[in-house]
């Protein structure tokens, strides 16, 4: 029975991926992408990777979808692409290119099949007691491979800086629909978003959760509030925003460097305070990710005072 479920899921994902690339309009492509993210989260659930499913649900499907919709609103209306007949030599070229791309995939598959055992799960679980934290995924992200996570945060930070440096686009000319119920909805939902973000941070200590999903939920709450007419200072050129955005990478780097002063190796947490340090980093990173995603959303718009 599980096989039927998985087969249906896989077929739908393939079909959506194809639609995402070959849709006639950008809007159709964005909808396909969003639904693809939704099904991918289900697929991760079927693969017993609940942590990734959480991150995919929050970031891949939720926040990215909304980000793409907002970007779509800034673009001029697009003409429908006419279906052209492709010339035969172009088809041949595409076929050849496809075959070339298949080669590395075949190599990867071969490599995966050569792998022995079932990954590093056993090793991680064996050294979990040294990390002083309950969740193996959090232990890997914030302790064993902490420098990767720090670099991920820095990549996000650079993305925000690049988007800011692109400057503002012209304010969106759309005549917005009146949405009188939106502020009421947001007043109802915003505390739930905050609560859920806090819950996910706390949950990351001993189960699936952590800074990335929590930050995404936090950002979703902020975006919802601003879309319903809440006033916020423009993200760039505002010291508070800058501090909040840098909070995560800064806290991370300070811990990594600070342990040097205490006589440990770079990124080696003292065993007695390891759990505490990781919780501190996680909270800082969660807040920071939330504000970074919000900044990405609104960096292009100078004037946030939308009339409802």
């Amino acid at each position: 029975m599980a096989l039927v479920f998985d087969a249906l899921l896989a077929l739908a994902m393939l079909w959506l991926a194809w639609q995402g690339v070959h849709a006639q309009t950008l809007f159709q492509a964005v909808v396909s992408f969003m639904l693809f993210g939704l099904l991918i989260a289900l697929a991760w659930v079927r693969l017993d990777a609940t942590d990734i499913a959480l991150a995919e649900a929050a970031l891949g499907s939720g926040v990215t979808g909304a980000l793409l919709f907002a970007a779509l609103g800034q673009l001029p209306p697009e003409p429908i692409r006419a279906r052209r007949r492709t010339r035969w030599h172009r088809r041949l070229l595409a076929l050849a290119w496809g075959l070339v791309l298949l080669a590395p995939i075949a190599l990867l598959l071969y490599g995966v099949l050569q792998l022995e055992g079932r990954g590093l799960g056993a090793e991680v679980n064996a050294s979990l007691s040294q990390a002083n934290i309950g969740s193996p995924v959090t232990a890997v992200l914030l302790n064993f491979r902490a420098i990767d996570t720090l670099l991920e945060l820095v990549v996000m930070l650079s993305a925000v800086v690049v988007v800011w440096s692109l400057g503002a686009t012209a304010p969106s000319p759309l005549p917005w629909l009146p949405a009188p119920s939106l502020p009421a909805l947001t007043r109802l939902l915003f505390p739930v978003f905050l609560l859920t973000a806090g819950y996910l941070l706390w949950r990351g200590e001993h189960g699936p959760g952590g800074a990335f999903p929590a930050g995404a939920v936090l950002a979703a709450g902020f975006v919802l509030a601003i879309l319903s007419g809440a006033r916020a200072p423009a993200p760039d050129g505002h010291t508070g925003w800058r501090l909040l955005i840098c909070l995560g990478p800064l806290a991370f780097a300070m811990v990594a460097g600070g342990v040097l002063l205490a006589g440990y190796v770079y990124f080696e947490y003292p065993p007695r305070v390891a759990g505490l340090l990781m919780i501190g980093i996680e909270i800082a990173a969660g807040i920071s990710i939330g504000f970074m995603l919000t900044a990405l959303f609104f960096a292009a718009e100078r004037d946030h005072s939308s009339q409802v």
Binding site: A12, Q28, M34, I80, P208, G209
Partner: protein, 94 residues
């Protein structure tokens, strides 16, 4: 009993795929958006059923996130994407 939950999840997944047809065919933007929302809501139900069927509590958290963030997509669509300047709204609009 657990089997029943799984069959129900399978039925809902099949339902999602029927809704997917509307998302891909349109013809108007709100049609696609609404069927996307339908898929999101159904995914919440599928996750909750799977959580009971496989006894995994963490899936409830995934369902919670789906339920919360589906609001975001629709609100962004209405506030930023939908009333596109250009031809008037109608059946022909992709």
């Amino acid at each position: 009993m657990t089997d029943l939950y799984f069959y129900a999840a399978l039925f809902l997944l099949a339902n999602m795929l029927v809704g997917l047809a509307r998302a891909l065919r349109g013809p108007t933007m709100p049609d696609r958006m609404l069927s996307g929302e339908l898929m999101g809501t159904t995914a919440v139900a599928v996750l909750l059923l799977l959580s009971v069927a496989t006894d995994t509590e963490a899936l409830i958290d995934v369902a919670l996130i789906f339920a919360l963030l589906s609001v975001l997509a629709v609100v962004t669509f209405v506030r930023r994407t939908w009333p596109e300047p250009g031809p008037p709204r109608g059946r022909r609009w992709p």
